[in-house]
Structures are given as C-alpha cells and as structure tokens.
C-alpha cells in the first residue's frame, strides 16, 4: 500500500503539494508514482524564475524505460529547484515526501491549492485505478 500523508494535497497526475509557512508550496511526486515509475536514473528540475501555468510540464523524471513529465499543480513561479536530484535521483524513490521534493513554487493565487485533492480523495483515486 502506498503512503498518502494526510497533511498534503494531491493532483490527478500524482504530484503532491505542501503549503509552507511563507505561502510558497513544495511539489514532489507521490509514493504511488515513484513506485509505478521504478528506479529513477535522472531528474531534471525546473529553473528558478520560470513561471508555469497549472498543468504545464515543469520537470522530467527518467527511469530506465521511460521519461515522464512532472506537471505544475497550480500556476506560479519557481522559487527553488532541487537541483542535486540530478546526481541523486534515488531520493525520489527512497523518500518521495521528504528528500525527494522536486521544486518550490510561489503560487499566483494561493487559493488554487484548495482545488487540489485531499489525502482521502487521492487515496480513493488510487483504489479506483
């Protein structure tokens, strides 16, 4: 059973979102997503300063057999990028909700986060899949 921490928000495309004290949000991929991809060999995190709309491809994670886009859950500007994942992509597999975070975003509208799924809804999505 994949871990779905209760305090996070989730997108249908399997990204998780954590709202930080300063109003920025941290984005990563869920435990379920890392498990489905298998061992990652590369993570291409976005550039700080880039702006993305909700649903835009912002990063790429690459496993041995596939390369997948990571979508921006809500519109905003990248304020921090976890660039060391390029050399240590295994953090995403080992600790998807901790050391495996991918980028931090300043959302255009903080209330957009409310439109994402809560843990219960995401858990149900996984069960239905």
């Amino acid at each position: 059973m994949s871990k779905v921490p209760a305090e996070l928000k989730y997108a249908k495309s399997h990204e998780w979102v954590r709202v930080e004290d300063d109003g920025t949000i941290t984005v990563g991929i869920s435990d379920h997503a890392q498990g489905a991809l298998g061992d990652l060999v590369y993570v291409e995190a976005p550039e700080v300063g880039e702006s993305y709309g909700a649903g835009d491809a912002a990063a790429v994670v690459e496993s041995v057999k596939a390369a997948s886009d990571i979508y921006c859950p809500v519109a905003g500007e990248v304020v921090e990028s976890h660039e060391s994942l390029a050399d240590e992509p295994e953090h995403v597999n080992e600790d998807p909700y901790g050391e495996g975070w991918i980028f931090r975003l300043r959302p255009e509208k903080p209330e957009d986060v409310d439109g994402l799924m809560d843990a219960a809804a995401y858990q149900k999505l996984l069960e239905d899949e």
């Binding site: 590369y42 291409e44 690459e62 496993s63 041995v64 057999k65 596939a66 390369a67």
Partner: protein, 457 residues
Amino acid sequence: MPFIPHTENEVREMLDAIGVESIEQLFDEIPDSLRIHDLPGVPDSLSEMAISRLMHERAAQDGHASCFIGAGAYEHHIPAAVWEITTRGEYYSAYTPYQAEASQGTLQLIYEYQSMMTELTAMDVSNASLYDGATALAEASLMAVRANRKSKSRKILVPRSVHPLYRQVTQAIAGAQELDFQSVDFEREKGSTPLSAFKAHEGEDITAVVIPQPNFFGSLEEVDAITDWAHENGALVIAVVNPTSLAVIEPPGNWGEKGADIMVGEGQPLGVPLSSGGPYFGILCCSQKLVRQMPGRLVGRTVDEDGKEGFTLTLQPREQHIRRSKATSNICTNQGLMVTAATIYMALLGAEGLARVAAVSHQRTRQLRDAVSELNGVNGAFDSPYFHETVIRLDRPADKVLDAMAERGVLGGLSLKDWYPELGEAILVCATETKTEDDIRAYRDVLGEVLASVKAA
C-alpha cells in the same frame, strides 16, 4: 512467396476499394512541374546481363582521375580488411539494434567505437552516430539550446570559415526552430577567424559558439582563445572537426581551460569510401554534464545477475520511439554500417597508424603548396598553419583552369568563387597520404601547362 507483393488484380481491388481510377490519380496533389516523367538515359527494363554491361560502360566513362578535391570528403587508403569484415553477414545491416538480446555483437562494436572516439577527441562521451557531419552540426546547435538553460537568446555564432554546406543544412534544420545563427567573418590574409570578430559580440546573450578545426579552408583556428572567450561569456562551445586531424593536433576536449562542450564532425575519413557523396556518418561527442541532452543513444557495458558481461542501449527514454515529440533524437537513424567500418579502420590502424596517416597527409599538402608556388601566377592565399588542405590563388579564371586540368586527368581542387567571391580566383586543394611525390609533380606540371594555355582574367 513472390517478391513482388501486388499483382495487377490486387492493385485493381485496392483502387476500387478506395474509389480511385488509377495509381496516377493518387499523385494529383503534386504539381506536374515537380515531377520527373522520364529519366534521360535510363531504359525501362533490361535483362541482368544487359544492365551489368551498361553499368560497366558507364563506370568506365569516369576514367581514373587523380583527385585533389577535399572540402569535407577525403580520399584515404582503406585497408582491404575493413570492408571484408564490415560486409560479413553478422554486421551487414544499417538497422538500429533495438533488441539488445539479439544484437550483442553490434552493441559491443558500437561500445568500442564510442570508446575509441572519446579517446581520439578527449571528450567524455560519444553517441553512436548521426546522418553526416552537416546534420550533426544542426543537432549540436539544438542540443546547445536545450543544454544552456541560462541563455534565453538561442543565438549561435557561426564563423564563415565553417563549411558552407554545413551552415546551409544547419540553417535549414534548426533555423525553423527559431535559432538565431549569426555569421562571424574571417581575416582575409589568414583564412582563420580572429578573436576580435567574436569580441564584437561581447556582453550579448550568446547560447553557443561554433569553432571549426581545421576550418573549411584547411586553416587552423585559435581554438584555445576562442573557447575561453566563449565560456567567459556564458556560451557553450561546439567544435567541428576532421577526426583524422585529431591524431596530430589538440583534440577539442583539451581546448582552452575547460575544453569544448560538444564536438561534431564527418566520420567519412575513417574508412568510408568517397562513393559519390554517401552514405557517410556524423560524429557527436560531448562532456559528461550534457549527456542528457545528447541526441542518439549510448551503448554501455554491464554485467547480468550471473556476473556475465553484456552490452546495453542506454538513454533510450529520450528517444522518439518512447517519447515522441520530446525526444532528443528525431533524426538519429543509425549509420551503423559506416560506424562498423570506422571502428575496424581505427582498430587496424591504431593510434600510431592514424597519426601516420595524418602526418603524411599534412606533409603531402605542404609539398603540393611548395611545388605549385614555383609556378608564375600561383600563390598561397593565406599565411596561417593548415592541416591537409589549403587555398591557392591563381591569376587566371579558376573555373577554366580546373576544367582544363580535369580534361588532363587531374581534379585540381574546388573553386571557391560561388561561396567566397571576395577571395578572387581561389581554389581549395587537398592532398592525403594517397598522393605520391610523383602525383604531386604531375599536378604541378598539368597546372603549369594549363596556365600557359588559359587566358588571364
């Protein structure tokens, strides 16, 4: 099973099914002016014996001219073993070895190729080939734009001393993707690009700088200074090289403080015959940090669960059969057979043999230039160092001189008039290790005779 799959009846049935009268109707969309209806001199059909005779007659018309034209395609001696091995059944396919479990021999060969190529170029990684040198430069330009994420301009500085056809192909392929190619002029007396010409762009947002070595004129560029300048200005360096020359001159991985970031070139000089222009293959190497943006695949060596050695294709997730529109290699048909020939060529010659080929080629070109300089009205055009190709200037119309030389069995070089009119009556000449001292004397004598008969411009 018949080799021709469609009988007339089957063709009729297919046409009826889609409601079309004739096959010809399917071509209606193409304007008539673009279609060639008859090929002059090509008969409809002939027996095998008749066609073989015709081909021999036609081949004989070419004669056995002594060729001093280089300009991107070079005549080198190819040991007989190269193509004897390359055309063995096990290797005789240009197709990509997607099924690693069935292609271990080919994969091992590509692994060897990559290893030799990185040694020759002093770069970290080599891909397993592109179409040719010109398309490799286009791919390298696109790669530089992907890799240099700090630069937003998509501006690439391209010296005019880069092969004109490479520049055209690159513009045609990458220009449509909004890359901004800016030309950098060469120094008229030297035939190489001065650092000051690049410095005119100081302070601009430059994505990459292209540096040819040797350049199209055969001259050597100041690669260390230009590489360092490019890096200080936030640009990546794309080297365009002749692989043979790297056996005797500094390889791009060692240029300047940090070395070139991407290197491309034409692989033809390494064991691939001239064969009227193809098939050739493109070389592309890069530094380790750019490997994720490299078009094409790598072959890696690994061990399986039982500890047995095996070879695998890596970086496949970026390829078009997996990632389609976002692939980094949409034109990476593997020129596998040419790579096979090059690998065997390099293995047979070894580093020492390749250095000997390069050194003798350089020596012959010097002898050629010295020999023709004795003639009245012939001068070296540039005073910079060169590898195995150089520009000479005539006091007669170059095209007429070359035509008259060809009639006497010597292909005397390439007229530069169309591409570089400012150079006047200039021709690009090349001598490799295939030319003997007698051949060079014969060149001088024929040129001397021709100059006496062609009127001054």
